[in-house]
């Protein structure tokens, strides 16, 4: 099974990487770009457990390592 874990910045937390990317794109002539935000995704292959258990484990992983609740929201999507 493969899950994609999305780690996004919470609404209102500033996103220098997204902003810098937007600025660079605008400078390159892409004037239609109004906003860029950066998201970090981990594709995790997990085996030997049921999907339900896996989902629980991944929640745990987010809490223990992948996200910092002060600035991040996360989101799990199964892709395989």
């Amino acid at each position: 099974m493969i899950a994609e874990v999305y780690i996004k910045l919470k609404e209102g937390v500033s996103d220098p990487e997204g902003e810098a990317t937007k600025k660079a794109l605008n400078l390159l002539g892409f004037k239609n770009v109004k906003r860029v935000s950066s998201v970090k995704v981990f594709r995790i292959a997990i085996e030997g457990v049921s999907r339900e258990e896996a989902e629980k484990e991944i929640e745990e992983m987010c809490k223990k390592l992948l996200a910092n609740p002060v600035i991040h929201d996360y989101d799990i999507r199964w892709v395989g």
Partner: protein, 757 residues
């Protein structure tokens, strides 16, 4: 028709005994060997005598070993003739991956400088990062703790319009940002400070950017490790990252012109600093405990080159068990394992009784390591895969490689051209010069590198009042507990070498020495990285030969040994070749780091002295570049005179209170004075046009208290020095013109960074 016959699973025999010329060429092409017909014929002859056909792994090994990158076949002859062989009594060794030089009673310093050009042109981030990874291994394998990194970089003009980019070529801004990010992310993560470098722009680098990287390390003299096997029966241990398909044919890639930047992926890697960092600790712990007999990094040519060179250097042979190598991908063919250039790997030879201890240390650091072979008495290399003997060749035949003395053709302009005249508007031309990206502040780059990690950087690349710093001439690090320091600088002037590779190279050498002296260090040794075009073209090899001649001449006459180097040819695309770029990394010894001198003006009302002599020499100058006035009179220099001046300067540092010192380079005295002033102290000088902008060699600008005595000190020695003015105020008053400090500072701070994010 060529015959490929599978003799063991994944191992093919190639019928070259029955191959004609055409087929030999085809084999070389199909297998990606990059060997010429003549070379293929030598191989055919060799196997004829053996009475059998070669296997794919054997031909691949020869392709690696005989590549330009590995065996220096086009350059060896010239390097031996002009440059190598000159040593001073403090040079400990120059025959291995990095030069080793005495630092003090107990310690040696280790120097290496290398190019990572082709990979960086294709994938700037990974290319530059793996360049740093590679140069660290070169220093580490001598048993040394890396203490400083250096990164001279060369790109096309940042203002190049996108429409003007040839197909498949990446924009200089993209390349620069990627390269700097790669060096930053790798260097900072492994925790070795990047303390010096340069960034140079010229249109000749548009289709061939150059990424050179240097490293300096420090070792205890009695713990220096040779890059050779210790003795018969020693065990080969391969440690570090797993071996994968990455980097296959990297050296052959680097030994041909770059034609297509998108389909050469296998030669490009990202590197893994977080494997390298513990690998450094583990190797140094093993060195400290005296548990190994030899060590070599795996770079170009992978295991194939490393095992061969370690065995040959010691006069032994080896037996290797390929299936013991830890792999990233399970289904790799034996020849792929043998020549893979996967990053972060080191090869050690260890006495059998120490094997367990060595493996424990690697395990402790979470670094994978495996026993993969043994040193043999007979000078033959045998490779086994499972139970099959799949490779058996005399080491000397493989590792020595061919040597060529290629035809040269001079392309120097015979007639002197000098159209340079005074500008109509001095201030305007001056502001153009100070904001030229080659001159303007490199803060954008410098601050992204941790140049202070390890806590030993005494002179940093940015110096002077905090928040308003200016450029320094050389970085100084304090590598041991004593007050002694190492000064480090990287220099070359491609605009000059382009017009005249001989005098341009000599000028670059002069600049390197000046930078070392300017911080109050005694020039001690240097390394070179020679970046040139296609050596099969007579004009290109001529450029190379001229450059090497100049280096050899300067080195011997000045008395500064070349302790390490690297040649990078084929920096050429169908759109042209690079300006001859002999990058130099100079190392100086600072007797007491507390007496190192910085470049910013310190006190109102001090005298400003110009040491040296200014001539009308505008060839390759910034002035001629920004005004478009042609001149091919490249500055000359005289190594003996440079030596006399250097010695006098160093003596003067001891005798007089020198407040600051800087050397004029691009833009001459005018620009150098501005750089000294930029931290917030203006000046008033009076200089004529030539004094202002000519780029003559062997000169320094010095801020002193006792001006008269200082000047006389030089005059007594038959050397030139004169007071040109005084510090103070908030204007740069050159006599002929005057500009506000604030305006200059703005132009200088933004000239380069305005192109970047």
């Amino acid at each position: 028709m060529i015959m490929y016959r599978e003799i063991y699973p994944g191992v093919y025999e190639i019928d070259i005994l029955n191959a004609g010329d055409e087929e030999l060429v085809k084999i070389s092409e199909e297998m990606g060997l990059n060997l010429s017909l003549d070379e293929m014929k030598v191989i055919k002859e060799y196997f004829k005598n053996k009475g059998r056909n070669p296997r794919d792994i054997e031909l691949q090994a020869l392709g690696q070993a005989w590549s330009e990158h590995c065996c220096y076949k086009s350059s060896k002859y010239w390097l031996k003739k002009f440059l190598l062989g000159f040593k001073t009594d403090y040079v400990i060794s120059t025959e291995y991956d990095a030069g080793v030089v005495e630092f003090d009673e107990e310690h040696a310093y280790v120097v290496a400088l290398e190019s990572h050009n082709h990979p960086s042109a294709v994938e700037p981030y990974g290319g530059a990062a793996t360049g740093i990874g590679g140069i660290l291994r070169d220093v580490l394998c001598m048993g040394a703790q890396p203490v400083a990194l250096v990164d001279p970089l060369f790109f096309g003009d940042l203002s190049t319009p996108y429409e003007k980019l040839p197909p498949g070529i990446k924009h200089p801004v993209y390349l620069l940002e990627g390269v700097v990010a790669g060096i930053r992310d790798y260097g900072n993560r492994v925790g070795i400070p990047t303390v010096a470098g340069m960034v140079f722009f010229d249109e000749s680098y548009l289709t061939n950017c150059l990424v050179n990287v240097g490293c300096v390390g420090v070792a205890k003299k009695d713990r220096i490790i040779p890059s050779k096997a210790g003795g018969e029966g020693d065990i080969f241990i391969l440690a570090g990252g797993a071996t994968g398909r990455d980097g296959i044919h990297g050296v052959t890639f680097a030994s041909a012109e770059l034609t297509d930047t998108e389909s050469t992926r296998s030669a490009v890697q990202l590197g893994n600093p977080i494997m390298k960092e513990p690998l450094i600790h583990a190797c140094l712990e093993i060195v400290e405990k005296g548990l190994l007999t030899g060590m070599k990094d795996l770079g170009g040519g992978g295991l194939s080159c490393a095992v061969g060179e370690m065995a040959l250097a010691a006069g032994y042979g080896a037996e290797v068990w390929l299936d013991k190598v830890h792999l990233k991908e399970k289904d790799m063919k034996p020849w792929e394992i043998w020549i893979s250039e996967s990053q972060e790997r080191m090869l050690l030879t260890v006495k059998p009784k120490h094997v367990d201890e060595v493996l424990y240390i690697f395990r402790k650091w979470d670094v994978p390591a495996s026993v993969i072979g043994v040193v043999k008495g007979e000078k033959v290399l045998r490779v086994y895969y499972k139970d099959w003997l799949i490779y058996e060749m005399e080491i000397e035949f493989v590792t020595k490689g061919p040597e060529y003395c290629r035809a040269t053709a001079e392309r120097r302009e015979k007639v002197e051209v000098d159209e340079v005249k005074e500008p109509e508007d001095y201030a305007k031309v001056f502001l153009k010069m100070i904001s030229h990206p080659n001159v303007a502040s490199k803060e954008w780059v410098i601050r992204q590198y941790d140049h202070e990690v390890r806590g030993n950087t005494v002179l940093k690349p940015l110096q002077g009042r905090i928040g308003f710093e200016t450029h320094g001439d050389a970085a100084v690090v304090k590598p041991t507990d004593s007050w002694k320091g190492l000064a480090i600088t990287a220099d070359v002037n491609p605009w000059m070498t382009k017009i005249d590779p001989f005098w341009g190279t000599a000028s670059s050498f002069d600049e390197m020495v000046r930078n070392l002296v300017a911080v109050n260090s005694e020039p001690h040794s240097f390394a070179d990285c020679l970046n040139f075009g296609n050596p099969e073209k007579p004009e290109r090899i001529w450029e190379f030969v001229e450059s090497v001649k100049a280096l050899g001449w300067m080195s011997k006459e000045f008395g500064l040994p070349c302790v390490s180097g690297n040649v990078s040819f084929y920096n050429e695309t169908p759109y042209g070749g690079v300006a001859p770029t002999p990058t130099l990394m100079g190392i100086g010894i600072v007797e007491d780091v507390r007496r190192a001198v910085t470049s910013n003006f310190k006190r109102e009302g001090s005298a400003i002295v110009l040491v040296g002599e200014t001539k009308r020499e505008f060839g390759g100058s910034l002035y001629s570049k920004v005004t478009g006035m042609k001149c091919n009179v490249v500055p000359k220099t005289d190594p003996k005179l440079l030596k006399r001046y250097s010695e006098a300067m160093l003596e003067a540092f001891r005798k007089f209170k020198v407040l600051s010192c800087h050397d004029p380079v691009e833009g001459g005295v005018a620009v150098a004075l501005a750089e000294m002033a930029i931290c917030g102290m203006g000046f008033e000088v009076s200089l004529d046009f030539i004094d202002l902008f000519s780029e003559s060699n062997t000169r320094w600008i010095v801020e002193v208290k006792e001006a008269e005595k200082f000047v006389n000190f030089f005059k007594e020695r038959g050397l030139k020095a004169k007071v040109i003015g005084y510090t103070g105020g908030d204007k740069l008053n050159y006599g002929k013109f005057s500009v506000e400090l604030e305006e200059v500072e703005k132009a200088w701070r933004s000239g380069f960074s305005k192109f970047l994010r």
